[in-house]
Symmetry: C2
Subunit: 231 residues, 2 copies
């Protein structure tokens, strides 16, 4: 969209604005996995010259949201099933650490807010409101991150999460998986309240494993259900 008068917002450097914009485009699927980025086309679309665009692309490549092909531009990486498994394992490690630290550091007020969001999430669940559910879900995870009081961990979590966010948008899991997820969330709150870091870690690890399975199930052709239980 063209916003001609930038006035106060012009304070922001173009390369930073382009970075945010491109990241959103990738995370939200406007730039789909496998898509090749043409500098000239993107320059026109974003109304900037090649210099800030290229700088933003380099940063996205460092974040893992783009892959640079020498002399052949950049593409949005297509994640193989193994890539997805690896990324979720990494996410699980980060979430588990977050949760464990949050158990030590969360305040009663933060816990109450998480409870409130959890009930809102239950409401969304009852109404089968998936977007609303996702929104509260993300808010809860963000609050847990915040409660861990570790900006470095939060930052890394966000970066890695962006790589698989696009996949989660599509993961429209079935009702029983949804129900399992809700139960896991209740267990999380329980663990947080009891400050049981080990249990929190275990729940989050399992939670992420289930999410990974759900995403893989979406991607894998539904031909047959040969999905044997894997650790």
């Amino acid at each position: 969209m063209d916003v001609p008068t930038q006035t106060a917002a012009t304070r922001r450097a173009l390369h930073a604005a382009v970075l945010t914009r491109l990241r959103d485009m990738i995370v939200e699927g406007e730039l789909a996995p496998g898509a090749r980025l043409n500098e000239r086309v993107l320059c026109e679309k974003l109304a900037v010259s090649r210099t800030p665009l290229r700088e933003a692309m380099k940063m996205l490549a460092a974040e893992g949201l783009l892959v640079l092909l020498p002399n052949r531009g950049a593409v949005v990486p297509e994640l193989s099933a193994d890539d997805i498994r690896h990324t979720f394992e990494l996410m699980a490690a980060l979430e588990a650490a977050n949760g464990e630290l949050a158990c030590q550091r969360i305040t009663p007020e933060e816990l109450d807010e998480i409870r409130a969001l959890h009930y809102e999430m239950l409401a969304c669940y009852a109404r089968r409101d998936l977007p609303g559910y996702y929104k509260r879900n993300a808010a809860i995870h963000n609050l847990i991150n915040l409660a861990a009081r570790n900006p470095a961990l939060t930052q890394t979590y966000r970066t890695i999460n962006a790589r698989i966010q696009a996949l989660r948008f599509r993961s429209n899991f079935n009702r029983e998986k949804w129900e399992a997820a809700v139960e896991e969330h209740e267990a999380m709150i329980d663990a947080l309240a009891k400050r049981d870091g080990a249990r929190m870690r275990q729940i989050l690890t399992q939670h992420l494993r289930h999410k990974c399975d759900a995403v893989l199930a979406e991607l894998a052709p539904p031909v047959q259900q040969s999905t044997a239980a894997k650790p």
Copy 2:
């Protein structure tokens, strides 16, 4: 077909070469924390124009090795004590996950190689050969990473590790801490051999906590001896 002028090395794009060079300069302390990067000066030093230099700087910023100040250039971040604690907590989470996965996936051959490196490391310890010790230490950790069979985890580990690598170079810990580290390494190998993921996690978490303490102890001057020999 092959033009002998610089041949193989010229294959590499300038921005990639500059990226590697700058990263080394930061990790090895040639660009010290707090140092401000002047584009013109670096351009002359590296014999490239501003375009590839700026692209490399943007990527380093995305990796967390530089901080960009809008309209005021880039600086090597100075880590506060809290920053160090946070980064080590993050590293601990990554190493713990690595170790736990390695317990599941390591081959006997890899374990033997780690044992061999461990004995070499003991030799270095006996001779008080700190550089040799570090070399074997890093090799062992890299092998454990490899054994975890998770490229995404390895990549993130390397990126985060680079942020504190410069600190570790200086951490010249005393003998009893060194001895404790050696004992922890033996426990690691034991846990790997027994495929005891939970124990491996616990050892690595403790190991990283000790490393963090050692680094913090180096930074916090012991008040006296401020006029001691400078390196």
